[in-house]
Symmetry: C2
Subunit: 214 residues, 2 copies
């Protein structure tokens, strides 16, 4: 039951289930079946049950899953029941967009610091925050207890910045820079790469008839 291993795709699906459950809970639904959850997420009921079974059994046979309870359990499993302090490194347009992104706040992510190396940007106010010199990143991240770093620098600064984040004790990095980062095994890294997503679209447009598997 606890293989201490989960696939990336299963993890993404859990996030989706959580989203649907939040909606169902608001609607006052008491229970939901794996089939209904599957339909919304574009999977199968067996998949839903398998995904949940990684973490225990939450349903009642013949009835389905209790909505509020499953929602709470899933939130706990994903670790989103609390506030997470995040640092954004790179005070450019993308950094600003992420900072302003409301879904962020609503999900408990709190931007606690923004850094840049451009003297024209350092010191500017972003809401309650002030853009800090990337030189003080280590001290500031530690002082503020930041646990998640978001890298939105140009490609050539990304590795250096990531190293600084790791040196400051950060173990989870979301990287938007189009550069493969080399980090210790212990640090969790996820990449969001615009160019790769667009190229996948180009491939599909160029190769009608080909199937891009999942």
């Amino acid at each position: 039951m606890n293989p201490r291993r989960i696939s990336d795709s299963a993890l993404r699906r859990l996030s989706h289930y959580l989203r649907f459950l939040e909606v169902f809970e608001e609607e006052g639904r008491e229970t939901i079946s794996s089939w209904e959850l599957a339909e919304r997420g574009g999977t199968t009921s067996a998949q839903v049950r398998k995904d949940l079974s990684h973490f225990g059994s939450f349903g009642k046979r013949g009835l389905g899953y209790p909505v509020p309870e499953l929602r709470a359990r899933l939130a706990g499993i994903l670790g989103v029941g609390r506030r997470w302090d995040v640092a954004i490194v790179g005070a450019g347009k993308l950094g600003a967009a992420l900072y302003a992104y409301d879904g962020f706040r609503r999900r408990g992510f709190h931007v606690a610091a923004v850094f840049d190396d451009d003297p024209r940007k350092i010191g500017r106010r972003w809401g309650q925050l002030e853009v800090e010199d990337v030189g003080v990143l280590g001290a500031s991240v530690r002082a503020k207890g930041v646990e998640i770093g978001i890298v939105v620098t140009p490609a050539d600064a990304a590795q250096e910045v990531a190293d600084a984040l790791v040196a400051a004790g950060i173990n989870a990095i979301l990287n938007f820079a189009p550069r493969k980062l080399v980090l210790p095994e212990s640090v969790t890294l996820r990449d969001v790469n615009l160019a790769i997503e667009l190229e996948a679209l180009c491939f599909a447009l160029t190769h009608e008839g080909w199937i891009v598997g999942r």
Copy 2:
């Protein structure tokens, strides 16, 4: 050799190889081995050879792959050797960040239109462009020959906007809105979902010892 099917992960790796090959070509390297390509991309040489074998055999036994040729072939395979006209729907901060993103232009992606439904934004100049009313999306997209749509609207507008893009003849959509879009089979859809990436990081931080597979 041509199974007319490729996995998402293989496709992503091809994009990475292309990036490395561009660097190698600039450095004047003539040949490269699958092993060297693998090292950069964090894979194995067998994987590189399998990935390439989907599309033919480009190497010379005992020597490796000719860098400029393989680069050109890969660009052709991914479909990035030409200009692609893109429409951004949603003139918010994220839309603006994508519009300004330089890697975009450099890879042949050309933002040909920007749409919004907010009267205060419609008509504003974005560089050479003017933000258009989402009501004229169909006509404008057709007139400009746009082939790729990027959805950066709030969640509740995303489906409607995507439907309009499809109605305008678009077959490839990159969706940043946190909403599962329902589209015809024939349309290629890729999602970029901030919340899911962050939740995966939270999961990892919350479950030390667990392995998130690929």
